[in-house]
């Protein structure tokens, strides 16, 4: 078991002929992901690392993909996501950064209407060690195991996952939800899935300033989650009103501070780490694990 992405994934890569698309197609294959097709309009008939490229998602369907990853540049990303949703793909992972928020709102709601899941945008994707990876997360940091990780960040997650692996704690699934204010899958979605996943024994959440997703997650944990949850929140020293790299990482109108998130988590019984690598130590010292 794993959440959202397992060994049954047959992946389509949208924007496969671009620099990122090519590079990560290879990296995903090395991780063990089954990549069945790629799409770049106008580049049909080519091959990338042996993967056939099509002009449209509709044509690529002859290879029977059941998930898609989007590397398409921001101005065209909405079109790419809708194209995938329209042919019935139920999992779309959007790596692209800087997509206009109104575009994201539309494809997030369209996905809901189509009964599909969107992960991202502006995210590193999802990896279930030993099974599959749909994303750009580095292969070497993972280890098969029982910790579920959900995060709003990229590199910070790699740092934490790496520390977990080195301490002997492998992962069931690690999902990067994305650094934008509007995202397709939330902490609550991930918590729900990890709670239902037999393989997952403990959950790690990596949050940051901006919005109220952590507060909402804390409330959900208090009444719905039986598994131990650990968290790290980035941005304790971030000043209000400044966007800290991620579009969603901004304290505005007094909302979205790290203090508020840490307090909410602690009140919900979540152990919060002061340093990223401390998460592994918290788990190690927890008698429940």
């Amino acid at each position: 078991m794993a959440i959202w992405a397992d060994e049954n994934i047959r992946l389509l890569v949208q924007g496969i002929t671009g620099h990122q698309g090519q590079f990560h197609t290879k990296a995903m294959m090395e991780f063990g992901t089954k990549i069945v097709a790629g799409v770049t309009p106008g580049k049909g008939g080519q091959q990338v690392h042996g993967v056939p490229v099509y002009d449209s998602v509709e044509e690529a369907m002859e290879r029977e993909p059941n998930a898609s990853i989007v590397f398409v540049p921001a101005p065209f990303a909405k079109d790419a996501v809708i194209e995938a949703l329209d042919v019935g793909i139920k999992l779309v992972v959007v790596i692209t950064e800087n997509i206009p928020f109104h575009d994201t709102m539309q494809f997030v709601h369209y996905a809901k209407y189509k009964g599909a899941r969107v992960i991202g945008p502006n995210c590193p994707g999802i990896a279930s060690p030993g099974k599959t990876k749909i994303g750009i997360l580095p292969n070497v940091i993972f280890k098969e195991g029982n910790i579920g990780v959900a995060s709003r960040s990229g590199t910070l997650t790699y740092e934490i996952v790496n520390a977990l692996s080195q301490a002997g704690f492998g992962q069931s699934t690690c999902v990067g939800l994305g650094g934008d204010p509007i995202i397709g899958s939330t902490f609550i979605d991930a918590l729900k899935a990890f709670e239902d996943d037999e393989e997952t024994k403990a959950i790690v959440l990596v949050g940051e300033i901006g919005g109220t997703a952590e507060e909402e997650a804390a409330e959900y944990i208090a009444s719905n989650i039986t598994k131990p949850v650990y968290a790290y929140i980035a941005g304790r020293t971030a000043p209000p009103g400044k966007r800290m790299g991620h579009a969603g990482a901004i304290i505005s109108g007094g909302k979205g501070t790290a203090e508020s998130k840490i307090k909410a988590f602690e009140e919900a019984g979540v152990k919060v780490a002061r340093f990223p690598h401390e998460i592994a130590e918290l788990i190690k010292n927890d008698k429940r694990i």
Binding site: F23, A74, P75, N98, I99, P100, F101, H102, D103, M105, Q106, V108, H109, Y110, Y113, I136, P138, V140, I141, R152, S153, G154, T155, L156, T157, Y158, E159, N162, G179, P181, I182, V206, E208, I209, G211, T212, A213, E216, Y232, A234, G235, R236, T237, A238, P239, G241, K242, R243, M244, G245, H246, A247, G248, A249, G253, A258, R274, F275, P276, H277
Partner: protein, 356 residues
């Protein structure tokens, strides 16, 4: 990107939203060309909130007063922001003040219309009487949504919604929305455009005066860069890791002066550019925290060396380098940087160097 009030009101007019008769001036001489009868409302144009409380809105009965107020306002700094323009408007005869806005609601992931029968004050202060209406982005504003607010402002709400959508707004707010002689008039304008969508709106004025000159330069170069009030410059790859590094510094009583996120790049030219920008901010210490996953540590190291060969850097660089090709990178950088093993050690060392 926030629009100044006058620019927001110009946008309002295009969408059929009435605004008070007004003129923008930035020099004293222009006052004499203003064809609005006294009394005037003179409003300092700044992006920060709380302008009224800070004394940024004044009334003038005649030209003599207007000239005096002009000098006062133009020499004013509101929460650190310099006043660069003044909006002069007719004084309205106000019967009622409402609040109306549309914004992107992060938690419901829908548009939210907010209306309050009490305008002119902070929206937080009137939370109880606010009518909140969620609007699905695929469906848009419906007549029944509008029936929840008074008849006299429904037309303005419909127009404001159209403006909000067509201009990729994060926020479009009218506070106060005044009723004057039976007509609804936008007495103020607050419009925030999504930066990611600016490419679709080349016609909008770009006056993001909230950025420092270095932050502007960084934005042009596509580097995430924020100036803070400490003396340690932090360079890391990834926004979350950069924030976490700043937080770690704080644990050892160090204070971050710059947030610089290298992003996913390991292009030596980009790395060099980032260091050039960092050097301009004149930090006392630079703390480099690199986690190479996809990013190769040795290519980042090459960029650093290129920079150091060309420029004389007068502050130490503490470097914690982890991940892909870390050994090679560390060897390359010996003699150039103070290498440390762990995240925590790096923060401790940089904080220490920042103190003496």
């Amino acid at each position: 990107m926030k629009l100044l009030e006058y620019a927001g009101k110009e946008l309002f007019k295009k969408y059929g939203i009435d605004t008070p008769k007004g003129r923008v001036v930035s020099s004293k001489g222009e006052l004499h060309n203003v064809d609005i009868p006294f009394p005037w409302v003179m409003k300092a144009q700044v992006l920060v909130g709380g302008r009224g409380k800070a004394g940024g809105i004044k009334f003038a009965e005649n030209m003599e007063e207007a000239e005096k107020i002009f000098d006062e306002l133009m020499n004013m700094e509101i929460k650190g922001e310099k006043v660069r323009k003044i909006l002069i408007e007719e004084k309205l005869n106000i019967e009622k003040e409402y609040y109306l806005s549309f914004f992107l609601d992060r938690s419901s992931r829908e548009y939210l219309m907010m209306f309050s029968p009490e305008g002119g004050v902070d929206i937080e202060a009137m939370a109880e009487r606010v009518i909140k209406t969620n609007v699905n982005p695929l469906i848009g504003l419906q007549p029944y949504h509008l029936r929840r607010i008074p008849k006299e402002v429904r037309n303005i709400a419909a127009n404001l919604f159209r403006l909000f959508i067509e201009n990729d707004c994060e926020l479009a707010e009218i506070n106060p929305l005044a009723i004057s002689n039976g007509k609804a008039i936008a007495a103020d304008a607050k419009v925030i455009i999504d930066n990611n969508a600016l490419y679709r709106h080349p016609e909008l004025p770009k006056e993001d005066v909230e950025l420092t000159p270095l932050e502007k330069e960084a934005r042009e170069k596509g580097i995430a860069f924020v100036q803070l009030d400490g003396n340690i410059g932090v360079i890391a790859n990834g926004a979350g890791l950069t924030m976490a590094t700043l937080d770690a510094l704080n644990e050892f009583d160090g204070k971050g002066g710059v947030f610089l996120d290298l992003g996913g790049t390991d292009d030596p030219a980009k790395v060099k550019q980032a260091f050039e920008l960092m050097a301009k901010a004149k930090p006392k210490v630079i703390l480099l925290n690199l986690f190479g996953g996809i990013t190769k540590c040795d290519t980042v190291a090459r960029g650093i060396i290129e920079f150091m060969e060309e420029h004389k850097l007068d502050c130490p660089v503490v470097a914690r380098i982890k991940g892909m090709n870390e050994d090679v990178a560390r060897e390359m950088l010996s003699g150039y940087v103070i290498a440390v093993e762990s995240f925590q050690e790096a923060a401790r060392k940089a904080a220490e160097l920042g103190r003496d």
